[in-house]
Symmetry: C2
Subunit: 479 residues, 2 copies
Amino acid sequence: MIGQDIIDQFRALLDARGIVTGADDIAPWLTDWRGRFHGQAAAILQPDSTEQVAAIVTLAARLGVPLVPQGGNTSMVGGATPPPDGSALILSLRRMNRIRSISASDNLAVCEAGVILSTLHDAAAEIGRRFPLSLGAKGSATIGGLVSTNAGGTQVLRHGTMRALVEGIEAVLPDGGIFEGLDALKKDNRGYDIKQLLIGAEGTLGIITAASLRLVPAIAARAVGWAGVRSPADALALLRHAEARLGDSVEGFEVIADDGLGHVLSHIPGTRCPIETRTPWHVLIEVDHDSGRQPGPGERLESALAEALDQGIALDAAIAVNEAQAEAFWRIRESLSEAERAQGPALQYDISVPVARMPAFMTDTAAAAERAFPGTTASSFGHLGDGNVHFHVRAPKGTADGPAWIAAQGAAINAFVHDAVVAAGGSISAEHGIGQMKRAELGRLASPARLHALRAIKAAFDPQGIMNPDKLIPRPGEG
Amino acid sequence: MIGQDIIDQFRALLDARGIVTGADDIAPWLTDWRGRFHGQAAAILQPDSTEQVAAIVTLAARLGVPLVPQGGNTSMVGGATPPPDGSALILSLRRMNRIRSISASDNLAVCEAGVILSTLHDAAAEIGRRFPLSLGAKGSATIGGLVSTNAGGTQVLRHGTMRALVEGIEAVLPDGGIFEGLDALKKDNRGYDIKQLLIGAEGTLGIITAASLRLVPAIAARAVGWAGVRSPADALALLRHAEARLGDSVEGFEVIADDGLGHVLSHIPGTRCPIETRTPWHVLIEVDHDSGRQPGPGERLESALAEALDQGIALDAAIAVNEAQAEAFWRIRESLSEAERAQGPALQYDISVPVARMPAFMTDTAAAAERAFPGTTASSFGHLGDGNVHFHVRAPKGTADGPAWIAAQGAAINAFVHDAVVAAGGSISAEHGIGQMKRAELGRLASPARLHALRAIKAAFDPQGIMNPDKLIPRPGEG
């Protein structure tokens, strides 16, 4: 545990609200929100400005004290949880929560790291714009964390991940120097794109203190539809058909296995199947228009789905007749994980493969997993257009002790699924990052060239290893 | 000069066509295409496969022999010219010119580094798709060079620079390891994005051997218009108006000063002003539709321009009535540099500033330059929507000896313009990169944090400094 003398040196850099040392105040931030990772820290540093962050990092570098940056603490991979030996301090960016500027004519918002995602959504809506990235944790997740993890969500098909929305970054590098890159330049070829390196670095190369973010027009009209299809391959054919007919106004395209839908209908009150036929696979599709363009999205989606039915790509289809029904369609998609938890213990994977290979991956890997681990059932859902599968392996029916099942089978099933991902040319982390949870698996599966590059960059930026220690970069023994 | 014994060791790795040592055969590749930079090299290595590139780099690393990668040799900044002391070998990627795969359903082409841009254009057109990046050198420039310099062009407003079109990269890193990153994953959060680091690295971190590139639908219909406006500020207002009315179907938006137009009309035979009024500034605008969507682009552009005239944003406007006229409008834009050369010597800058600051930059910096360097005239044109200005300072009227004027005044004018760019939060290289030409200026003007990061990354990847030596990274004395 870091001693009092060191804490006092950091205290001297900050105002009264700038440091938290009470055990009860620190406790909630020592564990990730799913309760899987636990750490210790003698203090939370809460700077109020970029200059204070720079002063903290400079001192940390001088003393060799590791820092664990934290925003909303919504990591899915233990990325914001400090090490268990208390050797690091938490650096919270939550007080840096100003929207420095927001402009409709420039389609740009400059946000400090601690701005909560839903706050930015509201600010953009007030000026007739939209920040087109959203996810379940939007009421807690902060801009700094979202940029540091290159967050995704349900709108990636049209607008890309966070990487595509970040136009500039301000960050404090591990030597305390401030990287001033907030100017939103659409063309800038002054060498290596440092901004791109910091996006998705999970705080291991420096502390992001602010970002310039791209806004898009507010949605003028939307249409949400549901289609039943025979297979993931037909779902992909439907996506290509929709893209050809509707262009990039296709904003959501989610594929759902019928068993997943069944769990939702069984466990989530008030849900019903949007179409009359129960088909093996389902597709949720959303079409958005930014303008009052005619014909509207409903009419265009209807004619695209009618063609798909005619051509036999879809077996059945429905379009939400009003906003309430549109939300009911989306609620099914958003309840899939909750419904599955009610069904019993499961291992869940956030993985991606090239879009063209996704249909085969979904069916073949599920079947192979069920064969390899008798009694389990495997299925998947997710963002088909992004190649992003949420792949789940459920414990055999009647498994009462989920943790014991995971302890016994987890490592083998993890390895099985991840090996299948690598064989398909995919990624063992589509959206959530590596953090602590997938660090060893990254070490096991990354190519030597990739591992070498990751370690070389880390060593170049952070030779002392004080930036979010033990996250992302595999340890020497790990690959 | 590198000796025969070393040449022979490289020769042993390659087939007969894999190495060129005749002085006459080498000569054309020792000078950049504008004849500004001159180098020496004892051989050109011409591998035919990624494995041969890896073997070459492995040997180069062992022997400490620097390599200068070269594609079409169309660099604007001396980025592909070897050092004058003959201490390096040229590594040409031109024989690696296969399109490994191209797919309309995946909207993806996997191209080797030596594929010429116009070859890819043709291949995409054959399958009803388009690769939406083009530039003057498209008949020579290669994919490897375009990726390595994050090339731009006239379609960036809608489709982004090369960075936005690269979905995967294969490269040989400076230790000879092959980075296999061709799988096009739309979501991949396995740590630092190595691909992003190699894009725009100008061959200083490794040799790009292939890239997976995004295709878009072919253009179904286009409309090209011309508008006369009062000022760059009104040109920006017209852009915002066009974006609001026409969404992202605005593919080109070029702003041109009236004096530049005047030079074209004087020096380029067969050109005429598209509108009747001579206004202080001009805008060329292109609207493209991917589908047969109605109303078509011509009708939509016409109504948007009519509104702009009504609102006083535009002073006059015209729409090309046929494809020949559309090409005549574009010919004016594309002849600006040639016309200016006919007018007399000029210094030309490839710079960018945030879009919102571009109007003030264009007028204020031109006036300030003319005051600071009496007799000169300054003006600009370029891609307004990208914040990319082509800023020119012309020698005083009657200057006969251009090179002498540049020798006397060039350094001072360069510094003046670049200082103004930095003051406006801009970049001294929008499209062309740094190469040899802007290396010292980058050193003078980059912030310490950026310089430190650039040098740290270079040292981490290429500790021996064998990858495109003396390009991009400022020397120790330079900043």
